[in-house]
Assembly symmetry: C2
Homo-oligomer: 265 residues x 2
């Protein structure tokens, strides 16, 4: 059984479909994680970052502070946002457009150019559902919702830039065995009273010639200016060189959590 951030028809649903057919939607990202932690489901699929809008804060925070889950896999999906209307509607009929905050942000130029009034909805799928039957309203979202609610795509690919992709993680109790083309994700906190904390940690990767594929900072919840760092890098935690790097980081940070190793997508 696979849990995913619902409702049906979202981009997360599309990502979860790649894994299998036994899918259960959950309303929130922590609820997906809880279902895996409680053994209700074997895997949980949640978004972790978007190439335009950045990290999904609640995913990072929940992995850091609330759940001891591992990343088993990553899935990257190109995001194409569509302008969705009731059948037969034309652009000049539309005054209001509904979507999730991130999708609205990804289509700012389109919304501005067409003089539309943006409104936030809880998800792209909820937005599509909310416009059914009202010809002055449109939604922005995944093509899947069009089938679900008998709507039409008036214009496809309306996002501001073409580099729009979302990275999802598949969470489980255990991470993935070594494949030879792997990535590892860790979270750490530096000692703020020691100068050059982050510089010294990055130096450990540098001297071992290990390439970082991601670095994100998040507030550590202990006050402004205090951060957790989320770092992804090439290699598997069962590789000897990666084991040594992880122990050296452990000695030089006061918090370290290994989120696991998994095949690069």
């Amino acid at each position: 059984m696979i849990s995913f951030l619902g409702p049906k028809g979202t981009f997360t649903h599309q990502a979860a479909n790649i894994l299998g057919d036994e899918l259960i939607p959950y309303c929130t990202i922590p609820a997906v994680m809880e279902s895996v932690a409680n053994d209700e489901t074997d895997f949980g699929v949640v978004p972790i970052e978007n190439s335009i809008e950045g990290p999904v804060g609640i995913t990072l925070d929940s992995l850091a502070h609330k759940f001891d889950l591992k990343i088993f896999k990553e899935i990257i999906i190109p995001i194409n946002q569509n302008f969705i209307v009731n059948p037969g509607c034309k652009m000049e009929d539309i005054e209001d457009v509904y979507s999730h905050e991130q999708a609205i942000a990804q289509c700012r130029e389109f919304i501005h150019k067409n003089n539309l009034q943006p409104h936030y909805a809880v998800s792209t799928a909820n937005a599509a559902k909310s416009i059914v039957g009202d010809k002055s309203k449109a939604a922005i979202g995944n093509a899947k919702t069009v089938e679900l609610y008998d709507l039409e795509i008036l214009e496809a690919n309306i996002q501001d830039t073409d580099n729009n992709a979302t990275r999802f993680v598949v969470l489980s109790k255990d991470d993935h065995k070594i494949t030879g083309n792997d990535k590892t994700s860790i979270i750490f906190s530096i000692y703020e009273d020691r100068p050059g904390g982050l510089y010294n940690i990055l130096g450990i990767f540098q001297k071992n010639n290990i390439n970082l594929t991601k670095i994100e900072s998040r507030p550590s919840r202990r006050g402004l200016g205090k951060y957790l760092f989320f770092v992804d890098f090439n290699g598997h935690k069962d590789d000897e060189i990666i084991q040594n790097i992880i122990s050296e980081i452990d000695e030089n940070t006061y918090f370290l959590k290994v989120l696991g190793s998994y095949p690069e997508y």
Copy 2:
């Protein structure tokens, strides 16, 4: 004239009030910035980061990609979230709670403990306005909204942690003159094909003994794994040591934008 992210009664309104009385609310963060860029207003106040929820993406992205504005001042406000109800309501009357996505996220434990159904609103002030007259509904937000809409605080300080503070920036055409206790904010992009890019930049600060007060990564909009870095550090850009640091960073990055120097709050 000072523009701020409205509506009235938000935490940004409270921050803008510290600067003066001639305040004009704007609906969105880019609209606040545009009012300063067009000389409609002299200063614009927007949130830039919260100690629990992290950076305000649209503020960082608009400063990086859309507007050439400077940071003239920073303001830090402790955020106390309140559980707001119609006069005379008790906890057992309430089923639904409305607020901005960030405020809902900041009060997750309170919402869970009291078995409330959370709903997103466009702002904390809109949430308060939307519950007027409905005794089964509550809002989460600033104490100011209670006066504006004749509501009551049923419980104060309901946020999950006590380190909840938001940092606002006051934007203008020019930054602040040197005061002796200043910070400087910059944005840069590293060459991804050169190993150790970020490590080398942090080394420039390290060897000059300059303390970083913030480091944030944001997607550069050129694809997953490509970042802009937002760095704040101690010192004013008119200091000779800071001038040298900025030129050395400029030589080693392919994009650099100095957002300005301003007194530390």
